[in-house]
Symmetry: C2
């Protein structure tokens, strides 16, 4: 591992790389509207959640939980996200990827799903650097 | 198990019960626009995917795969779904539930997510009975 994994070009264009975990490449969606990670298992040819088998399936599941906890940890007590959204859709980008999104009741899409709700608002340089620093590592 | 699990009223109103698996109550969304199952872990007080721990987390993951395969098996070779959507959102209904949806490139929402895309089209009696029969059991 990785075999001949290559990150989809559209995912690459919309995100900033955080780091690689055991299975997944961890990406931060470059949209300051929502704290939003994307996990991409580094295996060639995966399309759907059920394409994963055995240890990889368990690993992705654990990494979804880890990503959720990473996003929740960005916020102090009393300002935690209201809900976490977890989704593997892939209608536009067929490469298997899992969205993990922290939702707040005052975010631009609430209570709807985030996709298509508001134009992406890229992070400024300082905010991006700060967020990446806090998302990296254990 | 179950402890004092109670199915959310809105989920009950929008769906038809298929059966109970080891962890989840399996519901069929009463919307013939999309082959669409909802898994609701039968534990009281769950909100988010990461609220599940240990064996329950593994069990739900396995049940997501099982639900995907059940939906795919409804269709003959050459007419299989184009993509499976898997999502735990819960912005409108906070009780943890996982959508497993078979998507086709000619469905009413494609390529967008299904939520809010088209009014639900309830199954007629015969189609519902046939679908439930094929979804139940191993």
């Amino acid at each position: 591992m990785p075999d001949d994994f290559q990150l989809d070009e559209r995912l690459r264009a919309d995100t900033v790389e955080v780091e690689d975990w055991d299975l997944s490449r961890v990406l931060l969606m470059n949209d300051a509207n929502y704290p939003w990670l994307i996990l991409v298992p580094r295996r060639a040819g995966l399309r759907d959640f059920h394409d994963l088998v055995g240890p990889d399936l368990l690993c992705l599941t654990a990494e979804i939980v880890r990503a959720s906890n990473k996003l929740i940890a960005l916020f102090p007590e009393g300002q935690k996200p209201h809900k976490m959204n977890v989704a593997a859709l892939g209608n536009q980008v067929p490469q298997l990827h899992v969205h993990v999104i922290a939702r707040f009741t005052d975010d631009p899409a609430w209570p709807k799903p985030v996709w298509g709700a508001a134009p992406a608002r890229p992070y400024d340089t300082a905010a991006l650097a700060e967020r990446l620093k806090r998302l990296r590592g254990r």
